[in-house]
């Protein structure tokens, strides 16, 4: 009897003093992986009750797939980083715990930077924790601009300027190509937002579930025609999906790059030339919109104990602490999530010494806050982006001269496929 009592006591004490372990799956690789590890390490050292274990689980798409597979077998992590296109899937999943429910009553969300708050809110309630939000900006190689006889402090601000400058760069031999894009389909979405165009019906799926994409309209065709024209003149060089175009830019094969702000850190560190950044180029004759949020947020998955959920909330509160999000911004280039952090950064002169970190901010704050630019919410957006990526790839390979017809054909095909995806999604979840 004594023995049993001892065993029970020992077990109890182990339980009482053991830490709550929180698993966190994420998709941050390269220098961003180190940044995540630093955030997690900082949290683990800041207290004794909770131990967060961060695990890199592959690309965004792979991480989402793994999390879903794990959820179905009950082996899911407490929190998972999901990219912006997973928004509708997560909202409908029935597998999540919205952060507004997790937070203690009266928690002040007002400090979260407005475009981020809008993007991830439904009926003014925040569903996932802002972590690494970004937007797309234009990067350019000042050395190549100078070598081509262009003013290194005057990047293009319109499509026409970009085309002219690109041709000059290619013809002068300063570089083999003008521009390349990271995340091509995302850049296409950005173009809609910055020109105040809807990408899908029902206000980009924010009023009700979108049942139809609108990117094959006159505007989308116009963008594709321009890109096809650029590609044929080597002004546009296709560099692959996600981040693979960065290589072309860093090795000087192209003079410009449209890429997520999350690459500011790594590009500045790696580039052997002077890097400039600017706002996304626009087409004239369209209303001014705003660039849209990308990147990812942290979702809390259901099915864990009350104590564990509380621990998760402690961690989530930690990552939007001003000093944490400040460090996160500096080491990655992602937006600091709170307004307090922005002020801290400004006060210490960070933006003055690091103007490339300011570009995205100025861009997103100088645009107008219209529904077209608050973000697109689509059922199975992951699949839709895949379709659009393929469409861009088809367009830039086109060798003929009948741009209008080809752009319309490619976009109509893509739209048809996307509308099918949306229809099936609505069949599953209702509208």
């Amino acid at each position: 009897m004594k023995k049993i009592l001892v065993v029970v006591l020992v077990l109890l004490s182990v339980v009482a003093f053991s830490k709550t372990t929180i698993t966190f799956w994420h998709a941050m690789s390269g220098s961003n992986l180190t940044a995540v590890d630093n955030v997690v390490k900082g949290f683990n050292e800041s207290q004794n009750e909770i131990e967060v274990v961060a695990q890199f689980t592959g690309s965004y798409a792979e991480t989402l797939t793994k999390a879903i597979a794990a959820y179905r077998t009950g082996t899911h992590p407490h929190i998972v980083q999901v990219y912006e296109v997973g928004l509708q899937t997560m909202l409908d999943s029935g597998a999540i715990l919205p952060v507004y429910q997790l937070a203690e009553p009266g928690f002040d969300w007002g400090d979260v930077v407005t475009p981020i708050l809008n993007y991830y809110s439904v009926n003014d309630q925040l569903y996932s924790m802002p972590f690494n939000s970004s937007t797309a900006i234009l990067y350019y190689n000042k050395d190549i601009f100078a070598a081509a006889g262009l003013d290194p402090n005057k990047p293009p601000s319109t499509f026409d300027e970009l085309y002219e400058m690109g041709k000059k760069i290619v013809q002068s031999g300063a570089s083999q190509g003008g521009i390349s894009f990271g995340w091509p389909a995302w850049v296409f979405e950005q173009m809609h937002a910055t020109h105040a165009q809807f990408y899908a019906n029902n206000e980009n799926g924010r009023e009700a579930k979108a049942s139809q994409v609108l990117f094959n309209g006159e505007f989308g065709q116009k963008v594709f025609i321009e890109w096809m024209k650029w590609a044929q003149d080597k002004v546009f060089v296709y560099g692959g999906r996600e981040y693979s175009a960065n290589t072309a830019f860093l090795t000087g094969q192209v003079a410009m790059l449209i890429q997520s702000t999350s690459s500011v850190g790594s590009i500045q560190k790696t580039a052997s030339f002077n890097v400039g950044t600017s706002f996304l180029p626009r087409m004239e004759g369209y209303p001014r919109g705003n660039s849209v949020i990308g990147g990812a947020t942290i979702w809390v998955l259901k099915g864990k104990s009350e104590a564990e959920n509380k621990a998760v909330w402690e961690f989530l509160k930690y990552i939007i602490r001003p000093e944490v999000s400040l460090q996160w911004h500096k080491s990655t280039g992602y937006f600091p999530s709170s307004n307090t952090t922005v002020k801290l950064l400004m006060d210490e002169g960070w933006f003055a010494s690091q103007p490339n970190h300011l570009t995205a901010f100025l861009q997103i704050l100088s645009g107008s806050n219209i529904p077209e630019a608050q973000g697109v919410r689509l059922g199975n957006f992951v699949a839709i982006r895949d379709v659009v990526d393929s469409a861009v790839e088809k367009a830039v390979q086109y060798k003929g001269k009948d741009y209008e017809k080809e752009a319309k054909r490619i976009l109509d095909d893509a739209a048809k496929e996307c509308n099918n995806i949306l229809r099936e999604y609505i069949q599953l979840y209702g509208d």
Partner: protein, 293 residues
């Protein structure tokens, strides 16, 4: 029939581990795939409804799927042709008595030991449009910059090269073994009769290698259909556009990226039936021509 086992139960016990493995890893998933192919399932699996044959009819109406099928056939034919012909030639060369032969042999067979992910990375780096050595050499010689990320045919060609290269070591091992089983006397007497090297190769060596060739034909075909996922994923992700979207890769994209489990299951059922038919046809028509000596 002769009974070799004193015990009636023992053979079943001895077989049971492999039977269990086959059931768990092959039979159950196959049955599940067939079952799932009649449903539409939500990503998290919380909603699902019966759709009958809709997944299948959609499949055969989809131009993307038919395109993928054609690309896969082209890919498989090229990989098998290149793999077998190059494999025979290199094996014959390696079957000669040369100094340091085992070094060459090791180098050639090496490729099979490399994982698909690493093989894919090597080729992707070599053909990288901005920093790849092969691209650099071609540009230095011809002045043409090649970019397989925007050129459909080139992308398919590079993937075919990588896939054939990866399987080459395997083919060489089997051909070497086949060559070493050919009796010396046959070749000697042919030489005495005045047969040239070329005649010996086509009239004696090739026919005697036919069992090996037949085996490798099936193995290479299965490889080209099922085993190239890693290469494609690392190198092209099915792109540019849908230029290298082979059936297995499309299945993965629909099932694991788009999370359309029912549709992907239908594809796996079709792929399974398709390869089964091809294999049966091969056994039926090709095996007649095989000479087992």
């Amino acid at each position: 029939m002769q009974r070799r086992f004193p015990n009636r139960v023992l053979p079943y016990i001895l077989l049971s581990p492999s039977i269990v493995i086959v059931i768990i890893f092959l039979i159950v998933p196959t049955v599940q795939s067939i079952y799932m192919s009649f449903f539409r399932v939500s990503p998290f699996g919380d909603r699902k409804f019966f759709v009958g044959f809709e997944n299948f009819t959609r499949l055969f109406q989809s131009s993307a799927y038919l395109h993928s099928l054609i690309i896969t056939l082209i890919f498989a034919v090229l990989v098998v042709l290149i793999g077998l012909s190059l494999g025979t030639v290199i094996a014959v060369l390696l079957n000669q008595k040369l100094r340091g032969l085992f070094v060459y042999r090791t180098f050639f067979i090496w490729t099979y030991a490399i994982s698909p992910a690493i093989a894919g990375t090597i080729w992707a780096l070599m053909f990288n449009p901005s920093s790849g050595p092969i691209v650099y050499i071609i540009r230095s010689i011809t002045g043409i910059g090649i970019n397989w990320m925007t050129d459909r045919n080139l992308a398919l060609a590079v993937v075919v090269i990588a896939a054939s290269w990866k399987m080459l070591g395997y083919n060489i091992i089997f051909y070497l073994a086949g060559l070493q089983a050919i009796p010396e006397e046959l070749l000697e007497s042919a030489s005495i009769d005045g047969a040239s090297g070329v005649t010996k190769f086509f009239k004696i060596i090739l026919p005697l290698l036919s069992p090996t060739t037949f085996f490798l034909l099936i193995m290479n075909m299965l490889y080209a259909f099922f085993d190239v996922f890693g290469l494609i994923d690392i190198m092209t992700k099915g792109g540019p556009g849908d230029a290298t979207e082979l059936l297995v890769y499309k299945l993965y994209r629909d099932g694991f990226i788009s999370m359309n489990t029912g549709f992907a299951s239908a594809q796996s059922v079709v792929l399974f039936v398709f390869v089964a038919i091809l294999t049966v046809l091969q056994f039926k028509y090709t095996e007649r021509k095989v000479f087992y000596g």
